[in-house]
């Protein structure tokens, strides 16, 4: 499609971007930083939480098994 006045209108609107660009960039960067941090925290702690849960579950079942064995021997 050849250049038309719709494109010129958008170029006029885009020209106003310079005024707002710093504020937009700062805001996007800080929001992205927050998301990245949340992602990192998840990545770091979720596997640990799972392994703790699995570990405590295994311990519980071991204790239960021991108790069962003890009661059997009695």
């Amino acid at each position: 499609m050849s250049k038309n006045n719709f494109q010129q209108l958008e170029e006029q609107m885009e020209a106003k971007y310079d005024k707002a660009s710093d504020a937009i960039k700062n805001n996007v960067t800080s929001r992205k930083g927050t998301w990245d941090l949340i992602g990192d925290l998840f990545e770091l702690y979720i596997p640990q939480i799972f392994s703790t849960l699995i570990g405590s579950n295994t311990n519980l079942s071991k204790t239960a098994l021991k108790k069962e064995e003890e009661s059997d021997s009695e």
Binding site: N4, L9, E10, M13, I24, K25
Partner: protein
Amino acid sequence: MLKFLFALLSNSERKTLTDEEVVKEYLRTQNNYYFEILYGRYSAKIYGKCLTILKEEGLAQDATQDVMMKLLLNLSKFGGKSKFSTWVYSITYNFCIDFIRKKKKDKSQYFEDVSQFEDVVDEVDDKELLEIELDRLKIIMEQIPPDDKSILMMKYLDGMSIKEICLVINKTESAIKMQIKRAKLKFVKIHRTLYAA
């Protein structure tokens, strides 16, 4: 010297990589550098579209931030079915239309009956729209409802095909054709009302 060479190299990479390649690399590496490339390519365009539809600089600024975040969080959902730019603009248009709808809480006004216009103009020539004076175009676009404004922008500004517009608005081809026709009728009606004689 090394810094200069690195800057030169990364600058040429910035220019040569296609949008799709940049997205792929960003998803693979999660490196901010690739997001910066997309940001540089699209932030001004998104702002321009938001400003045209929302009409206020403050709102356009907030909308641009929200659209950029939406893009970032949904990059993995870009399947490559359409051009990346089409995908970006579809998020932008949908965001702006939703924003106005939520703000006004009255969807009905965007689906007003346009049968009143149909006796005024039968068929509108694209040339009439494309060659309208810039100042007039600006004033007319300010008076057109956001739905119609967006569809005219998709067709005449972004050069999207009917199929691409279908994907953006999620409507059938015949519904899109009808909506374009109605938007053009409104456009011409406003033009003739404001600038008759």
